[in-house]
Symmetry: C2
Subunit: 349 residues, 2 copies
């Protein structure tokens, strides 16, 4: 797919002074990096830009990005911006507290790469073939005439490297790698970004992962790998919620596994992450628990304790193994995009 033509979006900014930018709830590298790239780029073009957080959550992981300290919770932003830009966001609701800003903004712009359309905004760009929203932001700023600085490149590269899982997910295609090369040419340092994002793990996160690996069980002739953690584990190790986000990746690495499941008991619920290493559609499995996500990476929440949750998951996985793998690339139609996105765990693909 060729680069989008952002003329309408750039024209929308004509005459504007105040701009607010916001990503989605459970913020990841793509929405945070994209929002900051827009902030930096549009500021260089003379706009007054405020980057907003969909909730108060601001992961420490991305604190190396330029102007990271400028983020403010959307609930504390009471102005009526001339233009409000939602980035990496498929619906106004997904912007959390940003939805109120969206409603009162004079003009709205959406730049996104999720499945869906952007008709809820005045001008919208959706390209679901882009590996990251950061790629679209990169093109948008270039077309808008912003100076493509090393800081902007680093923000967009971070968006791209995290949303492709270090170029390991199925969205890591030639176009994504070419965009990464452009960003590196503009000053992004892949090794530095990797050091910040992947080489700053906490002691607790490492020990939690070791614990989960020791508990790992193989079921269905090794096709299902399952492990779990409970609140007591987190407390004992002094681990944060964020420390648990990559546990599913540790399980997923195992040879021969077709489906990987990580269960985390949190109060009255068990949150599950589920991954497919084959064509098997785990979003369809998650959908049966009112969860959702992508074919290869989904999430769900079960009201109950670990043993019950485990029994439910095992039953559904057994059904899935009894069926032929589905050829379809789409998420179960019964799960709307909104349901899926609001239910999906923050550690998804």
């Amino acid at each position: 797919m060729a680069k989008l033509d952002y003329t309408n979006g750039i024209e929308l900014l004509d005459g504007a002074r105040s701009v607010a930018v916001c990503g989605h709830v459970n913020p990841d590298g793509d929405c945070l990096g994209s929002a900051l790239a827009l902030t930096l780029g549009l500021r260089s073009l003379g706009y007054e830009v405020t980057p907003l957080l969909a909730t108060r959550e601001q992961p420490k992981l991305y604190d190396f990005l330029a102007s990271y300290g400028d983020f403010m919770p959307a609930c504390e932003y009471h102005a009526r911006p001339d233009v409000f830009i939602l980035v990496d966001v498929p619906s106004a609701a997904r912007a959390g507290d940003g939805e109120h800003v969206f409603k009162r903004a004079k003009k709205t712009l959406v730049i996104d790469h999720h499945q869906g359309d952007a008709s809820f905004a005045d001008v919208g760009y959706v390209d679901s073939t882009a590996a990251a929203a950061g790629m679209l932001v990169w093109d948008f700023l270039e077309q808008a005439g912003a100076e493509m600085t090393a800081d902007i490149a680093t923000c967009c590269y971070t968006a791209l490297v995290t949303d492709t899982g270090r170029f390991q997910f199925q969205n890591a295609d030639s176009r994504a790698l070419m965009a990464a090369a452009d960003m590196a040419a503009a000053g992004a340092l892949p090794s530095e970004v990797a050091r910040y994002v992947y080489q700053r793990r906490s002691w607790a996160a490492l020990q939690l992962e070791a614990l989960v690996v020791r508990r790992l069980e193989l079921l269905f002739d090794g096709k299902l790998a399952l492990s779990w953690a409970c609140e007591a584990d987190f407390e004992e190790l002094g681990a944060s919620k964020e420390d648990g986000d990559s546990l599913i990746d540790a399980i997923r690495q195992l040879d021969g596994v077709e489906i990987a499941v990580m269960l985390r008991e949190q109060g009255p619920v068990v949150r599950g992450s589920i991954r497919s290493k084959t064509d098997r559609d785990v979003a369809a499995i998650a959908a049966q628990m009112n969860g959702g996500g992508h074919k290869a990476a989904a999430g769900f929440t079960i009201h109950g304790k670990l043993p019950e949750a485990r029994a439910i998951v095992e039953g559904l996985v057994a059904e899935s193994f009894a069926e032929q793998p589905k050829a379809s690339m789409t998420t179960d139609a019964e799960v709307t995009a909104t349901t899926a996105f609001t239910r999906i765990r923050e550690d998804m693909l």
Copy 2:
């Protein structure tokens, strides 16, 4: 740096019929992928190509590469090839059993990206600014007029992704990403390669890593992270030597660490891997134990048991912390490239 002009190397092949290709001892993804890409590409041009192994070692990890079954140990190859190509090899000695083939070959060609010169061969190409030898092989085959198939692209991409550590090492620059984009455009599937290389870990490898993480010690105010494994661990878990290769990466991930050390007791010796997360030069530390490597990744062998090895390493690291970090990018001059390469562990950068 612009692409090299491979005219002389291509001319060297003129009139040749039999070609043998060989990488280095302790074969990695770069030398194996590069050797197979050359095999496939030159076969398509009509040559009879035999890919050789420097020793009998052929890691299962790369068994997904096309024609991987065609590799034969160099010690079993008794012919006198018209052209012998050493790839990812900085000296004939580093080709292990391939050195004998090198000596009797009619003509010799070297394609490499290590520091050094290729004057030991009839024609040689060394570009130490290339992230992987596979990038040079890609350009060589293109200039030679080979059909750049998906299989060749996959071999070269595998070379590149492994030698850059999934685009996380300092050699992961714009040029490397651009080459990766070209290879993906020619049919290499980054997600598939990642699945084979990084998502087929053995049960034993995961459990071994968990054990090493549990044993992890932080010294010097958290600046040194150190762990260890002994033969009994490998036996108990049924782990192979290969399963231990990535243990240092597990340690290196920890936040705040400047130097990471992994010690493995193997019979009468302790083999150490050492990594720097800052500007501190660990090759200089390794050199004091007659080891070597790169500034950020080095290895060494100590004759003795774990407690002695540990005391030696701790002492040298203490000295390093007492000094100012060195600004130099070069390896300690006392360690020649050959010494370094023969002593360096196979799990190096």
